[in-house]
Amino acid sequence: MSKITFPRMGESYRTFKMFLEDLGNEVVVPPRPSKRTLDLGIRYTPEFACFPLKILMGTYLETIEMGIDTIVTSGGVGPCRAGEYAMLHHKLLSDLGYKVKMIVIEPPRLHPFNFYKSVRALNKARISIKGIIAHVKRAWRKLQALDNLEKLSHIVRPREINRGNTTKVYRKALEWIDQAYTTEQIVEAESTALEALNSIPQDANRNVLKVGIVGEIYVLLEPASNLEIEETLGNLGVEVEKSMFLTGWTRDNSWNETSEGITVKEAASPYLPELIGGHGRDSIGHTVLYAKRGFDGIIQLAPFTCIPEIVARTILTKVSKDYNIPVLTFFLDEQTGKAGMNTRLEAFVDLLKRKKQFQSGIESFTC
């Protein structure tokens, strides 16, 4: 029987594993990207390809060692490079002599037939369409549960009394959701998990800064690629809000645009009226919205040489001036070190604190 794998993006792998197993596939869960993954990845990929491509190449090579022969991945229609990555990965892998089948899932709105074919190829258990829809619904619920849990952890972490408590409980709670199978179980696991996070001893009076994270979806969602930036910020006493989660993004890109997506577009339109691919316009729109909601600062994450984010960064300078909100950008690649990043983050947070203190006129701002 063929073994199948997929790109890993944060904790979402728990859902994809369940869904692909439901369809009757033998799934190999991709390991968390490590130093070795990167070393393997950068050996064979172009130097200026973006970070996600390199990590994924490493992941594929690692899972090939584990015996997979099929890879499911997402497609795209441009102008972001990510749409071509499946093609390049396939070429590189066959150039290295690996015979791997690639199933590329294109957006169903634009390529309905292609989408149908990929789903058929994945449906090893020959489940009826009705059955597939039920499985999708359950997988979707699980994805939402994972996203909700992560969102709450970002709120609890800066307020926790004992450092590291949240991360510990969060890891445990992820396993509960992982083990839930039916919809009822997922809902139950989710509410228990949220309760467990909420019951962590917190300091309600703590003065917490609010920072929005915008940028490219992969480096936003995969902690191994952004060097656990949310955790670092949480430990520095900063509440983080990520602009993008897999559930929201999938909804916007697979079928209908949500009102949320349209608001972001409108917010960005005075600065960038054109869709430039990737998440360039979203980064600008979210920055404007966060500024209006009174956030203290914005952090933009982007892979090195990411074209849409370079365009966005150029324009964000103006947004930052217009709305008086500080923006810090990280261009991430395999050379980014955790210590350097922490130093920059600490300095940024210190500046934000000073700015807040100055604005509110309070002399002693303690954290």
Partner: protein, 330 residues
């Protein structure tokens, strides 16, 4: 005094300048260009643009800096798609916005959106809209556009008969003023984007250097679009999304297949997004054609004249020797 419109000598200049110039002149507007790229232009661009942007974009910033105080309008159209299939690089799509939000003291920017996917007459509409900014009637805009298209056709014909854009532009002004150089002993394909290859400052005089070494060059612009279209998707499941990259990949495939060239150079800019894919695809294809040597040249704002010359001379010598050795074997 006539209204002056500034067109920077960078990026799309090498593809569309004859059309734009003819169009503006026809509706009674004077066109001002920023001239050849110089050290100052580059320095200005590097200072204004984001460090992570690629050299051609930095140079574009520099050209805009040089133009902005001399003109009444800046012409930076948002060219999205002209062939209904491929689009331009995201940096072209966001170009007017990048310029507007990072350079201060700009004259009004004409950033008409050109997207042929919106309908058969989308381009004509875009040009009438430009005309209306200068109070040209629809009729005269239409006539000017027609005439400009004819000029562009003539220009493209000149390119396809082997001239480079600078020569073709002076031939458009004064037909028959240039004579063809003698047939060289070696022929190289130079794959890359027109705004890198033909800007003699960024490419460190690549074409001239090759000519002095006795090497003739053929570029993507010298190949008829029909021949390129015939390559379909180059054996890939999807075409490359970006117009210039798609054309370059097709040109590389075609030239490899024809086998009339002695070597292939790929000129790429440091940090170019689309090129990271394009270069790998060409490299993988080059592996199949062992008789055509392939080399990648990377340029950025620090590229030195000497380093480039050494690499080119070595490559040319190697190809020459190989050709002589092969001739002896026969």
């Amino acid at each position: 005094m006539a209204v002056k419109v500034g067109i920077p000598n960078a990026l799309l200049y090498y593809i569309y300048y004859p059309l734009w110039q003819a169009f503006f002149n026809e509706i009674g507007v004077q066109v001002v260009t920023s001239g050849k790229t110089t050290k100052d232009i580059l320095n200005n661009g590097v200072r204004e643009a984001l460090a992570d942007a690629c050299v051609p974009v930095k140079i574009f910033f520099g050209h805009v800096m040089g133009l902005k105080d001399r003109v009444d309008y800046l012409f930076i159209p948002r060219v999205v798609c002209v062939n209904r299939k491929t689009i331009y690089c995201p940096k072209f799509l966001g170009l007017p916005d990048m310029i507007r939000h990072s350079i201060t003291g700009l004259p009004p920017v004409i950033d008409i959106r050109m997207d042929s996917r919106q309908g058969y007459f989308a381009m004509l509409k875009a040009y009438t809209e430009i005309g209306s900014i200068f109070n040209a009637s629809k009729h005269s805009s239409f006539r000017a556009y027609k005439k400009a298209c004819r000029t562009l056709n003539r220009y493209n014909k000149l390119l396809q008969s082997g001239w480079n854009p600078h020569e073709a532009m002076s031939l458009l002004r004064k037909p028959g003023s240039l004579s063809k150089p003698p047939e060289p002993s070696l022929n190289f394909a130079v794959i890359g984007y027109p705004y890198n290859i033909y800007d003699s400052f960024i490419s460190v005089n690549l074409l001239d250097k090759l000519r002095r070494l006795g090497v003739g060059t053929i570029t993507t612009e010298n190949i008829s679009p029909l021949l390129l279209a015939w390559q379909k998707n180059c054996g890939l499941p999807k075409r490359l999304f970006w117009t210039f990259s798609d054309r370059a990949l097709k040109a590389a495939h075609l030239l490899f297949k024809q086998g009339r060239i002695d070597g292939m150079l790929h000129l790429t800019a440091f940090g170019c997004g689309p090129d990271s894919l394009l270069n790998k695809f060409i490299e993988l294809e080059a592996k199949k054609y062992k008789n055509i040597p392939f080399m990648t040249l990377m340029i950025d704002e620090h590229t030195g004249e000497a380093g480039m010359s050494t690499r080119l001379e070595a490559f040319v010598d190697m190809v020459k020797r190989r050709k002589e050795a092969l001739a002896c074997l026969k």
